[in-house]
Symmetry: C2
Subunit: 208 residues, 2 copies
């Protein structure tokens, strides 16, 4: 299985690297970061953080696509090369997936019309304007389309995907390998769990 | 606060990017990937995944150091430039931290002698041979030295660090921003929670 993770300016690193690490450890999976051209891609901190080693032209038919989100998503909605690649790649994929605001790019490529999908809690409802049916869950499967909530949820999504594709034993083995036995210091990861004044502060941090 | 995350061949991407994303979102923090020279660094998948934008020489006195782990740690134990930079940087740091097998690099630099420390469950006991006192907990604070367990634990560590350094409200805001409300599909992230035959399979995935 060849997994392609497209990078675009302003992506959030953990959106991409959570699924990358889970999938790269899965036997039989090869994961490539892709972009219009090869080389470092600037992330949401304005730094060249991750490297695209493969161009869209060189990987037109991946088995799995994982689209990360980030503040750069808005500009990327106008990135014709990315959207065209997504549409063409989707004709071949076994799974087409996203993390955080990456679902808006899938939707803009016409791939989530009428489908249940999720995104970061700050924007999930806006998916309706893109033709999808917003669902406030951490990981949403609708056929071969799998969308995950904000940033860190890509880890949960990728493990669930490995379980569907390769079996629960493999998924559990990868989970153990990365010691994914989370102990968040606070129970503050969902807007329903914190005072409302934290919502705007959190959205400000991620550039909205 | 300037945070330095040193990269070396064979590091595991999530070890570095979990803390990177948490700390980069923290107001007042600037995070740089550092190495002997600038440019892409090859990770544990044999690909140039992350980019060092700063050299050791250019960032001798960071406020916080976060050392990632990975299968490359063993070779990095002989990387004099890395160990010398760690020792010199530690003279200035407010916090010196690690994820996964990164604690062995701190120990090899002489920074964990007689201190409580942790690492990935597969190797934590071996820290005793490096002069540290192994502790099987997800995040271990001993003075300014903070060590985290395997791979994904760097997210928990970084949030705990932000809470100590900047306050609980900021830590909770960052946690909400990255929607870190984990829902692992399985309760399989700790060796105590899975059948023993998964242990060797998991260690094989991460190259031991």
């Amino acid at each position: 299985m060849h997994v392609a993770i497209p990078l675009y300016p302003g992506f959030t690193a953990l959106d991409a690297v959570g699924p990358y690490t889970v999938l790269a450890l899965t036997p039989g999976c090869e994961v490539s970061f892709v972009a219009g051209g090869t080389g470092p891609v600037t992330d949401d901190q304005g730094k060249p953080t991750l490297v695209a080693t493969t161009s869209y032209a060189d990987l037109p038919a991946p088995d799995i696509v994982v689209v990360p989100g980030g503040p750069g998503t808005t500009a990327a909605l106008g990135d014709r090369a990315l959207l065209d690649w997504l549409m063409a790649a989707d004709a071949h994929t076994k799974w087409t997936t996203s993390v955080c605001s990456g679902s808006f790019l899938l939707a803009a490529a016409g791939l989530l019309t009428g489908r249940k999908a999720t995104s970061h809690w700050g924007w999930v409802e806006q998916l309706a304007g893109f033709g999808a049916e917003p669902v406030s869950e951490r990981v949403v499967f609708d056929g071969k389309y799998v969308t995950a909530a904000g940033v860190s949820s890509g880890i949960d999504m990728a493990i669930a995907l490995v379980a569907r594709e390769t079996g629960e034993r493999t998924a559990q083995t990868v989970q153990l390998a990365i010691e994914y036995d989370p102990e968040p210091p606070f129970d503050a990861g969902s807007p329903h769990k914190v005072p409302a004044d934290l919502h705007a502060a959190a959205l400000a941090l991620i550039g909205t």
